[in-house]
C-alpha cells in the first residue's frame, strides 16, 4: 500500500504544492485580518474553514472526482486494479490524499487559534469543525456513486445513482456556499439553519457520522467493484 500511496503523492505533488501554497498563507492572513473567524448571524464560523472548502472544491475536488470528469483519470482505477496490490486497499489510498490535506489545515488552524485568542475557545467552533470534517468526508467519498455503478446491475439503480449522487452534491454546495456567493442568496436562510445546526453537538455528531459512514462505504465499494474497465 505504501508504494502506491507514495506514487500517488508524487504524481499529485504539483496539486498539493498549489493547495498548500494557497491554504497556509490564507490561514495565516485570516488570523491577521479577522482573528480566524467569520460572523454569520449569531454564530462565529471559522473563516478559514470556508476558504479551505473553496480550495478543496476548486483544487482537490477535481482530483477526487477526476474519475467522473476526466476520462484518462477514470482509467486510474483500471491501472491500479492491474497492479500487484490488493484492490480492497485502493479506497483508503484514494481518500487519504484529500483527507490528509484537510486534517493538516484543520490541525494548523487549531494550533494557531488558541494562541491568537489567548486560550478562549468557543465550543460552537469546535462543533462546526467536526461538522465540516464530516462534510469533507462526504465530498471526498464522491467517487462512491461512480464506483457503485460498477457494483449494481439494472438500469433503474444506475439511473437513481447517476441522478441522486450529483443532485446531493449540488444541494450541499448550494446550501453551504449560499452565505458567500451572492447568486445563491435565496438559499441563505437554509444556509443559516445549516450553520446553526452544525454548531451544536448533536448536529456535529450527525454530520461527522454521516460523513464517516459514506467514507467507509466508499472505501469498501472500490474493492467490491464488478468491473474496473472504463
Amino acid at each position: 500500500m505504501w508504494r502506491l500511496l507514495k506514487a500517488e503523492i508524487a504524481y499529485n505533488k504539483n496539486f498539493l504544492i498549489i493547495a498548500y501554497g494557497i491554504a497556509v498563507p490564507t490561514l495565516i492572513f485570516s488570523f491577521i485580518w479577522e482573528g480566524g473567524i467569520y460572523q454569520k448571524g449569531n454564530f462565529n464560523t471559522p473563516i478559514i474553514v470556508i476558504f479551505h472548502q473553496m480550495i478543496f472544491m476548486t483544487v482537490l475536488f477535481p482530483i477526487i472526482l477526476g474519475v467522473t470528469i476526466d476520462r484518462r483519470s477514470s482509467k486510474r482505477a483500471m491501472f491500479h486494479a492491474l497492479l500487484i496490490h490488493p484492490v480492497r486497499s485502493l479506497g483508503i489510498i484514494y481518500l487519504s490524499l484529500p483527507l490528509f490535506f484537510w486534517f493538516s489545515i484543520v490541525f494548523l488552524f487549531w494550533l494557531i487559534y488558541p494562541i491568537v485568542h489567548e486560550g478562549n475557545v468557543e465550543f460552537p467552533l469546535i462543533w462546526q469543525t467536526l461538522s465540516i470534517t464530516g462534510l469533507m468526508f462526504v465530498l471526498a467519498s464522491g467517487p462512491l456513486f461512480y464506483d457503485l455503478n460498477h457494483c449494481l446491475k439494472g438500469k433503474a439503480a444506475k439511473l437513481i445513482l447517476n441522478f441522486l449522487g450529483p443532485f446531493l452534491y449540488v444541494v450541499l454546495v448550494l446550501f453551504y456556499y449560499a452565505a458567500i456567493i451572492p447568486l445563491l442568496g435565496n438559499f441563505s436562510p437554509i444556509n443559516t439553519m445549516m450553520i446553526e445546526f452544525s454548531s451544536s453537538s448533536l448536529g456535529s455528531i450527525l454530520f461527522f457520522c454521516t460523513g464517516s459512514i459514506l467514507a467507509a462505504l466508499g472505501i469498501i465499494i472500490v474493492g467490491r467493484r464488478k468491473s474496473y474497465v472504463e
Partner: protein
C-alpha cells in the same frame, strides 16, 4: 506441472451478451490464439482472467492459484497488454516503468531499456503525449521486462500501423524462442495468429466452438477441385461448395474423408490444395458452430 491458466465454468453477463460457460486451459509453454469477430467475447475472456472483470460465476486459476484480486501474488507470473493502455498519464515512460518495477522482484531494468531501444520508444515523453503505437510499445515493455511465465495479449496490434505491428510480432517471436513461456493472444487479425500460435480457439457469441492445434487444421483442411456429373450429391465434411456445370470446387474440413468419397463416386481430375490458416479461420468463422464441429 500446473496449467498456465484454467477457466472453469466461467460466466459473465452484460445486457445483451453472455460469455460462457467458458472452459479453457493452457499448458505452460504453449501459444493459444483466440480468434473471433468483434463482440465475440475475446476481450471479456481475457479481462476476467486479469481481474478487470469479476465473473458472475465460475473460477479462474493462474498456475494453480485462484485469480483473487485481494491476494494478487498470482499476478507476478503474468504480463498483460490490453486493448486499452493505462499509465500515469502525466509521467513519462521512464517514470511509469520505474513505478511498475517496484512490484516485480524479477524486473530487469536492462531488459526494459533494451526493449525500449529496440522499439525506438521515447521514454522521456509523457504517457499522454505518446502515439497509439508508442503506448502499445510501452505496454509491451511493461509486460515483458519482468519475464512473465504467462503473457496475455488482447489485440495488442489493434490500431497500429503495419511497421510497428511487424516489430511487435518480431519481439513476441523472440520471446517465444527464448523461454518456456505461455502466451494467450486474442485477435481478429488472422495473419498474426497464424505465425505465432500452436493452438487456435474460435469464439463467437460468448462460446468457444472449437479448439484445435494449428497443425491439425493445416493437415485436415483442403480446397479440392474435381469434375463430376450429377445433381444434388451430398459431400461429406464440406463447408463450402461451388459448381459450374460439372466442375466443382469444395472446401473440406477433413480432406481424406472427402477424397475417399470422391473416389467412390468416380470423380475425375481431383486436385487438392493446402489452405492458409487465415483461409481456414475465415471459413470456420463464417460457417459457425456447424463448421467448427464438422
Amino acid at each position: 506441472m500446473e496449467k498456465a491458466f484454467q477457466y472453469n465454468d466461467v460466466i459473465k453477463t452484460f445486457p445483451g451478451f453472455k460469455l460462457g460457460p467458458l472452459n479453457l486451459e493452457l499448458e505452460p509453454g504453449t501459444v493459444l490464439g483466440l480468434v473471433g469477430p468483434n463482440g465475440a467475447g475475446k476481450t471479456t475472456s481475457i479481462q476476467c482472467l486479469v481481474g478487470l472483470l469479476r465473473p458472475d460465476s465460475g473460477e479462474i486459476r493462474v498456475f494453480g492459484r485462484p485469480n483473487d484480486l485481494n491476494k494478487p501474488e498470482w499476478k507476478l507470473d503474468i504480463g498483460y497488454v490490453g486493448d486499452v493502455h493505462v499509465f500515469y498519464e502525466r509521467w513519462n515512460g521512464l517514470q511509469n516503468l520505474r513505478f511498475l518495477s517496484q512490484f516485480y522482484p524479477n524486473w530487469s531494468d536492462e531488459k526494459a531499456t533494451e526493449l525500449a531501444k529496440r522499439f525506438q520508444l521515447p521514454l522521456n515523453k509523457r504517457a499522454k503525449d505518446l502515439s497509439t503505437g508508442n503506448r502499445v510499445k510501452l505496454s509491451l515493455v511493461s509486460a515483458l521486462a519482468h519475464s512473465p511465465n504467462l503473457l496475455l495479449l488482447d489485440e495488442p496490434t489493434s490500431g497500429i500501423d503495419p511497421v510497428v505491428r511487424t516489430e511487435v510480432l518480431d519481439v513476441l517471436f523472440e520471446v517465444l524462442e527464448t523461454g518456456d513461456r505461455a502466451i494467450f493472444y486474442t485477435t481478429h487479425i488472422l495473419p498474426e495468429i497464424s505465425r505465432l500460435a500452436d493452438d487456435l480457439a474460435f469464439i463467437d457469441e460468448g462460446q468457444i466452438w472449437l479448439r484445435t492445434p494449428k497443425e491439425d487444421l493445416n493437415e485436415r483442411w483442403r480446397k479440392i477441385t474435381f469434375r463430376l456429373a450429377g445433381e444434388n450429391v451430398a459431400f461429406e465434411s464440406i463447408v463450402n461448395h461451388r459448381k459450374e456445370g460439372n466442375d466443382h470446387q469444395v472446401i473440406s474440413s477433413d480432406f481424406e474423408i472427402t477424397l475417399h468419397q470422391l473416389q467412390e463416386l468416380g470423380a475425375e481430375n481431383v486436385q487438392d490444395m493446402r489452405m492458409s490458416i487465415e483461409e481456414i479461420a475465415v471459413q470456420i468463422l463464417k460457417g459457425g458452430k456447424d463448421v467448427a464441429s464438422a
